[in-house]
């Protein structure tokens, strides 16, 4: 076995198998357990990082798993999968380090071993999902991360909100998962293979109807997992999870899975008319709508949640436009700066004890490190040079502009302005102005600031890595027609293109907001008006879904009469069923 294969297997097995041993180590001492879990996290991160030199094209190793059906655990180490695994491993490790202090208060009420093993399971599941080329194995890991998100969103199970929120996340993503599974089975039926690369080669021979059904199923799976319109409703509610977990869900693990799936399956459905257009418009509309909702939220984590949905919309739109490189680069940079922003929000929540931005304000004097890190994260989110977010967002917009997709380009450009507005509003409400509550404030402890500093540095400097990144993408992904971009070209292109005017406009908007429109923006959403009501109600999605579910529930209630609960009737039913079965069998055979 090659060493790279071994590393890939270990990166999945160590967190998944090692995680449950948290319960064993806890018997020695709780402190040893915490150290053990964090060590596992950092070992996993190191293993994923050490996969970079061995990036190669296609499936490197197929272990036959079910010989009868010719199903193997394909391990693929191309640039697409390895970098998603790295994001999961590294941000996961930093989030675990951050958890030492952040989760300490929960220790006397909830089991921290449960927290640590589920987090490790989550990270391992995401790495496994990324590193396999077999769709069935991918689906298994897909469900593992779905389960972990459900369990971790409901972590604080004594509170009233987390359990329904976790259930909602599970059920809403399940709607998409059914589509994904159906898509896999259709592809298996049509091509006789579950390996992504084998399917790519024969995709053109599959009948368009089957391919279209499978493509729609894959889109449904990605829409559910990546919280796109109209299945985005679970993600804002998932904010009741511990902040470390939300940063994992939003930046490192869960939501990236959908975008990754579409990028991975892009060559299969490339020739299908309408497939990429559908993704383009789902992404664009999601980006725009979620950004408008983010303007109105008062909960700091919900602002970031809608921001995540909006930014994922950018990634989806980029895939729809065929810009796989831009989409994946944005996934990486978004992973970094969104994890940074969530961990900043976690530090703020940790010291102020509230999530409501109306009770914050004036934190800049007391939390200097968090303040600077949050500024870097927000500027990256908004897309100000020379942070990573600027370059990656520019790549997507420039690609849309060059591809002649002007409607989507215009909507995403407006979204960029909205992003600036809600980021500014969030920053001003939390860090600037006067203190609005009496709680005593201090800087967060080092276990929390170290991950912040690492992530802030990464979001400042990650774009410098573009040349080796695109080189590995270009060499390991022959199906995608990706060209190598040198750093000089990259910078020149970013500053010379037409999209630089969007950045200039955004900068002017921020200046105007700070100088002139401060009170207008902050006070605009205190009371609903005709214009702001749809935004404040999040376009009535939740209410509409509640009505639908309630109607369905009432419909199926009528069938309760069949279930008498009477043992005699049940037995009679069994006998009648058996007789019908026998008669059918006789009719069939005779």
């Amino acid at each position: 076995m090659e060493s790279s294969t071994l590393i890939a297997i270990l990166a999945v097995v160590i967190p998944i198998i090692g995680g449950p041993f948290c319960y064993v180590v806890e018997k020695i001492s709780p402190k040893a357990r915490t150290i053990y879990a964090i060590t596992l996290g950092f070992i996993t991160a190191g293993l994923t990082l050490s996969l970079i030199p061995s990036i190669t094209e296609g499936s490197v190793n197929d272990f036959l798993w079910i010989p009868g059906a010719n199903i193997s655990l394909g391990i693929c180490l191309d640039s697409l999968s390895v970098f998603v695994a790295i994001i999961a491993g590294c941000i996961g490790a930093l989030a675990l380090l951050y958890s030492i202090r952040y989760m300490k208060h929960a220790e006397h009420e909830y089991s921290l071993s449960r927290y640590y093993w589920q987090t490790l399971f989550f990270i391992g599941g995401m790495i496994g999902l990324a590193l396999t080329s077999n769709l069935l194995v991918m689906y298994i890991f897909w469900e593992i991360i779905g389960f972990c998100s459900y369990a971790l969103i409901g972590y604080y199970y004594h509170d009233p909100e987390p359990i329904p929120a976790g259930t909602k996340a599970f059920i809403v993503t399940r709607i998409g998962d059914i589509g994904f599974l159906a898509g896999i089975l259709i592809l298996w039926h049509a091509t006789g293979s579950l390996n992504v690369f084998e399917i790519m080669n024969v995709a053109s021979t599959v009948s368009p109807v089957l391919l279209g059904l499978a493509g729609a199923g894959f889109i449904a799976g990605a829409v559910g997992k990546s919280a796109q319109f109209p299945l985005h409703v679970w993600l804002p509610d998932a904010m009741v999870a511990p902040t470390t977990i939300t940063s994992l869900i939003h930046a490192a693990c869960l939501v990236n899975a959908g975008v990754y799936l579409l990028a991975r399956s892009y060559p299969i459905f490339m020739g299908l008319a309408g497939w990429s257009t559908a993704i383009l418009w789902i992404g664009t509309i999601t980006a725009f709508l979620a950004a408008t909702i983010a303007l109105t939220e008062w909960d700091i984590k919900r602002v970031l949640a809608y921001s995540t949905i909006s930014q994922l919309g950018y990634m989806m739109a980029a895939i729809g436009a065929g810009a796989i490189l831009a989409s994946k680069f944005y996934l990486l940079s978004h992973g970094i700066f969104k994890a940074l922003l969530f961990l900043c929000a976690g530090a703020i929540i940790y010291v102020t004890g509230t999530k409501d931005m109306r009770e914050m304000g004036g934190l800049r004097k007391h939390m200097k490190i968090t303040h600077i890190c949050a500024i870097l994260g927000l500027l990256s989110l908004v897309g100000i040079p020379v942070l990573t977010g600027f370059f990656s967002k520019h790549m997507i917009l420039a690609h849309l502009h060059a591809g002649g997709l002007y409607e989507a380009f215009a909507l995403l450009a407006i979204t960029a302005f909205l992003t600036a507005a809600y980021s500014w509003r969030m920053y001003w409400l939390t860090f600037q102005g006067d203190r609005r509550s009496k709680v005593k404030i201090h800087e967060a402890p080092w276990q929390m600031t170290v991950p912040l500093i690492v992530l802030a540095a990464a979001s400042l400097l990650f774009w410098l890595y573009i040349s080796p990144y695109t080189a590995s993408m270009a060499s390991s992904l022959p199906h995608y027609s990706i060209a190598h971009i040198t750093l000089g070209n990259f910078i020149q292109h970013a500053f010379a293109g037409p999209t630089i005017w969007i950045t200039v406009g955004v900068a002017i908007l921020i200046a105007l907001l700070t100088i002139k429109w401060k009170a207008t923006v902050i006070n605009a959403f205190r009371k609903p008006s005709a214009l702001t009501l749809p935004l404040m109600k999040a376009y009535w999605f939740d209410i509409f879904y509640n009505k639908c579910v309630r109607g369905l529930f009432r419909f199926w209630q009528q069938f309760r009469r069949i279930q008498t609960g009477d043992l005699n009737y049940n037995n009679l039913g069994i006998v009648i069923g058996f007789v019908i079965f026998l008669v059918l069998l006789l009719v069939w055979t005779v």
């Binding site: 309760r560 279930q563 008498t564 609960g565 009477d566 043992l567 005699n568 037995n571 009679l572 006998v575």
Partner: protein, 101 residues
């Protein structure tokens, strides 16, 4: 009529009586007896199957195992019935419909 046809008839009668008992009776003890009667019919069918296959020894070994397991299930069921009777004061299953969906 062959011997094995008699056997077959006995199996059908036993299982039929047991199922009729399960459908028609309300008393838990009677239901348990019905289940036991069905189990006897199934045991007999094992002997018959062993006879057809020509390896009676294995069939007998299985039958002895089934009898042992049956004794255990009967004991557990009786214990449950006794506890349930002490708890609710009734043996009628219609009075025990707590799990009605």
């Amino acid at each position: 009529m062959n011997l094995w046809q008699l056997y077959m008839l006995a199996i059908v009668i036993l299982i039929g009586i047991g199922i009729y008992c399960l459908i028609a009776r309300k008393n838990i003890v009677q239901l348990l007896i019905g289940i036991e009667v069905i189990a006897k019919g199934v045991t007999l069918s094992f002997i018959l199957a062993g006879f057809f296959q020509g390896n009676e020894q294995i069939a007998q070994a299985i039958v002895i195992t089934i009898i042992v397991i049956e004794a255990i299930t009967a004991a557990v069921a009786m214990a449950l019935i006794v506890r349930s009777y002490r708890h609710t004061g009734t043996l009628d299953i219609d009075d025990l419909k707590k799990l009605r969906g």
